[in-house]
Symmetry: C2
Subunit: 207 residues, 2 copies
Amino acid sequence: MKIYDISMTIHEDMIVYKDKEEKRPHFNNKANYINADYYDTDLYMNLHTGTHFDAPLHMVKDGQTMEGYKLEKFITDVKVFNLEHLNNKITKEDLLSYDIKAGDFILLKTKNSYDTTFNFDFIYLDQSGAQYLAERSIIGVGIDALGIERAQPEHETHKVLLRRGIMILEGLTLKEVEEGGYLMIALPLKIKNVEAAPTRAVLVENL
Amino acid sequence: MKIYDISMTIHEDMIVYKDKEEKRPHFNNKANYINADYYDTDLYMNLHTGTHFDAPLHMVKDGQTMEGYKLEKFITDVKVFNLEHLNNKITKEDLLSYDIKAGDFILLKTKNSYDTTFNFDFIYLDQSGAQYLAERSIIGVGIDALGIERAQPEHETHKVLLRRGIMILEGLTLKEVEEGGYLMIALPLKIKNVEAAPTRAVLVENL
């Protein structure tokens, strides 16, 4: 069994969306071996920090919270597509050559995986690509950027996917992962009544 | 494949250790459909909230952080022991009848799993039990309480286990789970340089 960790590391200097300070996680170490006989820390974080699932409520009024995603779907076969050659966005055209079936969970590997700072021109899935994936009846899509879209009015990509209950997994790191099929285990924190959840995600070969 | 979710749900009214207010998670909903066209939330939480791993640093000065636990160990066979008949603590005596081998990961199911409020007299693993498990060279132990010990001076149970790098998984809910063998997937958030990490944990039958 070989395991790939496709999760971002959470720390105060990590990449955050658009470099916004309010998106940066903060730690509050309350006990350590100077003031106590144990070590204890609090964490303040946006729910969209690092690797995370978006639930419909994030972009759809009255949309479902994380509870809307079935537990079983967090352990799923995935197909990784290597789209590192693209320089701007992922369109329907870029996806046509791939075998995409109903029930698939697709991971989009782009050159984003090599970014070491926030890239305001990150590669995203455009509306035509989202529409195409939705028509193929996929169950989920992941990308190696903190957003699955940018610079689209009305958040079209999110809405096309989330209105159909298609899971969105953002903030993956896929540098070490080759195109192909894997078992993905992507377990979000079990948080009640929220629009997103921080997630640890791994890919497994030959479980 | 049948999956049991053995994770506590994180919300503001959840059970927190000793009912301490500073242990209670808080949500800050910054955007919603009244003030924006999307929904966005921050979470403030202690790293020992709900289901979580303790790393050695939590109770051992200069102990390892979460990075000390190998990724592969978060996906592991486990043995669930039903100890619901116990009324105070789990001792070596209580464990002697079980088959425990080197490399095992043991989950201790007690009547704690039925608590609906914080029980100051929760069932814990005492030092003799921890010492016995350590001598058997287990790799990890989980329990259905927010602490693996209480009311022991010097945190002996934690120290016996953590000094040997034995993983401690706290805050499980095992009510629905029968004694026996399972595959456990317990993925902690990937947080840098900390003494514990919130975790989503599931048991799988027949993957």
